[in-house]
C-alpha cells in the first residue's frame, strides 16, 4: 500500500484549506450575510424581544467563539438545528443529498460522455463542416438560458400544450420506472445545458493532442483512426478531462441542481441551500460550506491519485 502515505499526506494538506474556506465563509456569513433576527420576530417586536432572538441565534457572541463552535460542530458532525424549520441539519442533509445525487448523476454522466464523444469527433474532423456544425451548435447551446430550456421542456413534454407524458414536478420515486418518470425531463435539461460547454472544452483538449508529433507519427505508421483516438488521443488527454470532471462534482452536487430542483419541485440540497442563503439560515449554510470544502479536498485527493494512474510521470515527479 505504497499509496497510503501519499493519500494521508494529501488529506493533511486539505486541513488548512478547509480551515481557510470555513473561516472566510463564516466571516462573510456573519458580517455580510442576511440577518435572520427580523424574520423570526412578530409584527410588533420590542427591543427586548429583538435581543432575545439575537441571543437565541447566537448573534451576540464574539466572532471567534462562534467560529470555534462551528469547527467543533463540523468535527463532531453535530450540525445543530435549522433556524427556520427546527429540523436537525444532519437529517436535512441525509434526506436531500441522495435526491440531488439521483437527480444530477445521469445528466452529469451523459453530458460528459456525449461531450467527450462529440468533442472527439469534432476534433478528428477539425475545420470541416461537421466540426463547424458542432462548434456553432455548442455556442447556441451555451447561449440559451437554463431557465428557457427548463420551461420549454416542461411545456413540450409535461403539459397538454405538448406531449404531456412526464410530470411537471414532483419526486414520488418508488422504483426504477417512477424514477425514470420523474428524472427524465430534468436529465434532458441538464444534458442540453451542459453539452455545449463540455463539447467545446473536450474538443479543444483533443485538438491540442491530435496536433502533437506522436499522433502524426502514429498516422505515418498507418494506425487506424479508432486506435489513434481511443488508445492515444483520449488516453493522453485524460489529465485535463479528469480535472474538469472531478472539480465539477462538488458544484454539481451542491449548487448545480438548484434551478432543476426549484422548477421541477424536487426536494434536493440545492433548493435547501438556496433557501438557507436567502433566509440567512446559518446552521444549514455552515454545514453546506463545510461539506463543500470536504468534497473539494476529497476531489483534489482523488484527482491527484487518478493523475498517477493515467500518467505515471505525475507520480515520478
Amino acid at each position: 500500500m505504497s499509496r497510503l502515505p501519499y493519500v494521508v499526506r494529501k488529506l493533511m494538506y486539505g486541513i488548512p484549506l478547509l480551515l481557510g474556506v470555513t473561516f472566510v465563509s463564516f466571516l462573510l456569513m456573519v458580517y455580510f450575510g442576511p440577518d435572520k433576527t427580523y424574520e423570526l420576530l412578530g409584527k410588533n417586536p420590542t427591543t427586548e424581544q429583538i435581543n432575545e432572538v439575537r441571543h437565541a441565534l447566537g448573534y451576540d457572541r464574539p466572532f471567534l467563539l462562534r467560529y470555534s463552535q462551528y469547527l467543533k460542530e463540523l468535527a463532531t458532525l453535530d450540525l445543530g438545528l435549522s433556524d427556520s424549520s427546527g429540523e436537525p441539519v444532519s437529517s436535512i442533509l441525509t434526506r436531500t443529498l441522495p435526491v440531488s445525487l439521483m437527480l444530477v448523476l445521469p445528466g452529469f454522466v451523459l453530458g460528459n460522455v456525449l461531450g467527450l464523444a462529440i468533442g472527439l469527433l469534432a476534433a478528428w474532423y477539425r475545420g470541416l463542416w461537421l466540426d463547424k456544425l458542432v462548434i456553432s451548435s455548442s455556442v447556441v447551446g451555451m447561449s440559451v438560458s437554463f431557465l428557457i430550456i427548463i420551461i420549454g421542456l416542461q411545456i413540450m413534454l409535461c403539459t397538454p400544450y405538448g406531449l404531456n407524458i412526464f410530470p411537471v414536478r414532483g419526486w414520488q420515486v418508488h422504483d426504477l420506472v417512477s424514477y425514470l418518470h420523474h428524472a427524465t425531463v430534468p436529465t434532458i435539461a441538464l444534458v442540453l445545458v451542459t453539452l455545449g460547454y463540455n463539447t467545446r472544452f473536450y474538443r479543444a483538449v483533443m485538438v491540442d493532442e491530435i496536433e502533437r508529433d506522436h499522433i502524426r507519427t502514429l498516422q505515418a505508421f498507418g494506425a487506424s483512426p479508432v486506435e489513434q483516438l481511443f488508445r492515444h488521443v483520449l488516453k493522453n488527454s485524460l489529465v485535463p478531462i479528469l480535472t474538469r470532471i472531478m472539480f465539477s462534482v462538488p458544484f454539481v452536487l451542491i449548487s448545480g441542481s438548484l434551478l432543476l430542483e426549484s422548477y421541477f419541485g424536487i426536494p434536493g440540497i440545492g433548493l435547501v441551500t438556496f433557501d438557507a442563503i436567502t433566509s440567512g439560515d446559518q446552521p444549514i449554510l455552515k454545514a453546506v460550506v463545510g461539506l463543500t470544502g470536504v468534497l473539494f479536498v476529497l476531489a483534489l485527493t482523488i484527482n491527484d491519485m487518478l493523475y498517477s494512474v493515467v500518467d505515471p510521470q505525475v507520480t515520478r515527479s
Binding site: 412578530g42 441522495p98 437527480l103 410530470p167
Partner: protein, 597 residues
Amino acid sequence: MLKKNHIAILSVLLILGACGESPSTDSGVPAKTYRHAMDGAPDSLDPAQASSVYANQIVVNLYDTLYRYKYLARPYELQPNLAAAMPAISDDGLRLTIPIKKDVYFIDDPAFEGGVGREVTAGDFVYSIKRHFDPATRARGTWLWQNRIEGLDEWKANGSDYNQEVSGLRALDQHTLQITLTRPFPQLVHTLTQGFAGVVPREAVETYRLQLASHPVGSGPFKLLSRNSVRAVLERNTRFRSEPFSLQDEGYDPQERDTTGMEVLEGGIAPFVDRLEFEFITEDAARWNAFFAGEVHFIKVPVSQFDNVLSQRNPLTLSPQFQDVYQFEASPEAGFIYTNFNMADERIGYHPDPEQNRRNHALRCAMVKAFDWKKRNEIFFYDIGRVFPGILPPSVPEYNPEGDHSYIERDLTGAREFLLAAGWNGDNLPVLEYGFPNSVTERQIFEQFRNFMMDIGYPANKIRPMVFATYGDYQRAYSQGKVTLINSSWTMDYPDAENNMQLYYGPNAAPGSNSANYNNPEYDRLYVAGAALRESPERTQIYREMNQLLMDDCASFTGISRTLLFLWDRNVIMKPDRSFLGGYFMRFVDLKDLPPP
C-alpha cells in the same frame, strides 16, 4: 475497483434514499387527495411560529384553535371550533369564560405515555399561550396578547416558569377556560382563530423542543405525513371529532354559491378528503404548468397569466376556454400596499423647528399629490386592485365610498404649488432613500415612484434606491431608521379595522409595526378610545377621523388592495380562501367521484 453487484447495491440504496411516499390509505385504497399549490413555503409548523400565510394555512389543519370563521359567510363571522360555544363576556368586557369541547384528542405520538394521544384540556390552551411568552419558543405571535392578558407579561418577566400560574389565564376545570384582560380588547376572539393560537400538548413540546416546528402534534383534522422543501403531505386524522357539516351553520347562501355543488356536503363529516398535499411552487411558470397539466387542483393565478385567464376585466370574466374546466374567483386581498415616510427623519418628517416642520409637511403632501395610483394599479396590479384613501380599505365596514378621494388622485399642479409655497426647489430638496428587498418587481416599483416624483421636479439623483438582500435585512434597516421611504404591505390579522389603525399608533413606533414612526397625540387618543369599542357607528366615526388625521399629515402614500384570482378544478367542491378563513376551508374540500389527476 467496484464490482457490478456493488454498483447495483449502491444504485438501489440511492433510489431508496431518494424515495417519496405513495398516496394510498391504510387499507390500500387510493386516497382521495386534494392538491393545493402555494406560491411560497412555510418555514415552521409550530403554531407559535406560524407567522406566514403559508405556515398558517397548514398549521390550522394540524392544530385546533378555539374559534374559526364560518366557511362560507362573508363578511366573516366567528364560529366555535375547539370551543363549545362563543365566550361568555363579563359586563366590563374584561373577563371571558370559554367552554371547551369534550372528547377531543391529540393524535397518537411517542411523546405521549404509551404513544396514545390524550384528551385536549383547557390547561393545554393555557400552556400554548404561555409558550408565546417564553423566549425559548422563539414565538412570533406574542404581540397579539402582549400587555393585554392579566399577569402574562409579569410571568415572562419572572422567568417563564410553567409551574407558575398566570392570573389572567386559568383553566377553571378540564373543559373551562377563563381569560382576564388588562383592558377591553374586543378583538381577542379574533386572535383565537389564528394559527398562533393553536393548542399544543406540553409533552410534545418537552419532547421535541424546537423540532416541534417540523414534527407537529395537534388535534386538528389532519396530521403530517411528510414534509420537505417542495411539498407537505397531510393525511386525515382518524381521531378528529365527528361533527356533521351544516351549510346553514357555515353561512351558505344558495343564491351566491349555487355553482360549487356544495349541497352534497350537507350532513357529511369533515374532513372529506383523505389527504392534503401542499405543493410549494414559487416560480410562476412552474406553478402554472403544474396546474395546467392537472398536477394540482388549485392555483393563485400569477399576474403573468391574467391575460390568458381573463376575457375581460370589468366585470372580471374567465376566458371561455377555461369555463368548462375550472372554477374561478376574484378575491380582494385582506390588507393593502403602502409607502411610509419615516416621520422620525428630520429631512422629511417631524422637525423641532416649526417652520421647517411646516415645509416638510408641504413637501410630503406635494409628493403624495404627485403619486399616480391609477398608473401603479395599471402596471403592477393589472388594473384590478382597489385604490382607497388612507388605511380603511374596502374590505372593512368603516370604508367610506362616498368620502373624499382627493388623497389618491394625482394633482401635479397642486403638488407644484405646495413646493413653491414652501420654498422647495430642485436644489434644496432633500436626498431620500427608498428601501426595498432585492427583486425585479420591487426595483420596477421604485423606478415608477421616482418617475412620478420627477414629474414635480424632484431630481432623480435625490431619490436613491436602498436595496436589501432579504426582507429581514430591509426590516432591520427601516426599524433602525435608516430608510426614508418605506415601501411595505400589510396583511390584516383579523377582519377588524383596529388591526390597521394600530399601524400608526405612536407607542407602536419602530421596531414595532408603526414603521412611519407616526406620532400624533390626537390619533393616539382616538386609537385608545376606539380600541375598547366593538364595531359600531361610534367606532366608525372615530376610525374615519383617525384616517383623516393621517391623510392630513401626509404620513404615507396609501393605499391599494390587490385582487387575487383563484382558479380550481371544476371537480373540486370548495370555496378557497387566503385571508382570514385561511386553511380552515380545507377540511371542507371534497372531490367529485372522478379519478385523481
